[in-house]
């Protein structure tokens, strides 16, 4: 199963901005987060194919997963 992962802002540090991954078993968003060693508390927003999603979402072939940290200054 091919999945594109996009990381935004500080989540890219020590990782990447955009990368394709191949998973050979069922994978949820939380599995990706743990694989990338991103603490859950550092993620505020999860989008799959442009729509808001959650840690429990089971990824599917050709999904694009985007992860964002909290941005709240004003």
């Amino acid at each position: 199963m091919k999945v594109k992962i996009k990381l935004f802002a500080t989540l890219r540090e020590g990782r990447f901005a955009e990368k394709d991954f191949l998973f050979d078993m069922p994978t949820k968003v939380i599995d990706v987060v743990r694989m990338l060693e991103i603490p859950e508390a550092e993620i505020a927003l999860i989008f799959i194919n442009g729509t808001h999603s959650s840690f429990d979402y089971p990824l599917r072939e050709n999904d694009t997963l985007a992860l964002f940290p909290p941005i709240g200054g004003g």
Partner: protein, 273 residues
Amino acid sequence: MENWQDFLLSHSEEGFINGAVLRTAAERFGKSLKMMEILSLQEGIIPRRYERNIGTISIEQQIKLLQSSCLIIGCGGLGGYILEELGRLGVGSITALDPDVFQESNLNRQLLANVENIGIAKVAAAQARILQINPAVDFHGRQEALDADNVANLLAGVDVVIDALDNFETRRVLLNACAQSQIPLVGGGIAGWYGIVYYSFQTSAALEAAFMGVHHTRGIEAELGNPPFIPALVASLESALVARLLIGNIQGKTAGKMFFIDLLDMSFEVFEV
């Protein structure tokens, strides 16, 4: 005695009229400056101060803006620029809320802050600035924080609410109130080289996650700070969205959008919320 229509027509030049004439007309005919601007536009005469709005917006849309009201929550980094732009644009009624006074650390990015007003209430500076840039605007500054007790009263009668806040806790109060009131909401957040902008007609799971799901009061801005260009950029995007909502050229009344800005790779991504 000459009536106001004849006065405006006789004092206009090639379809335009200047501010001094409108102020004289307001006094002579016992109307507010804002009303004289509206009446002038209804006669097809453009106040010089809005000359460079027209073309992007129509005369009818300028009237609509002058007849609109908005509530800006926060007069800091975002709020200062939003107030400047909506005031110059000609949004007729603006209420701004902020409990704070200026601190030295505001000087790097807050448009209303200067070396002479440290310690002065932000809403007082906002009032003074609006009088300088567009005295036709009915401006009300309230030196208080948004909370569950005052939010319903503040939202009453407002056409668009603007989140120019700097913390998630108050955003949660606002989002909860907007969910019940059905008033369109425009908001943004800034942190370092990054920003978000959103508009929404109803609180969505994504907005809840952005500002409610995190177990913090603040986001990555606590570590990155905020350079001056990011509030200016995000605030300008918010102002443009407010203008479009007020003149009615954002399609739909349900789905909203969230935009992510990254100034390191100069990218702009759009998501449905």
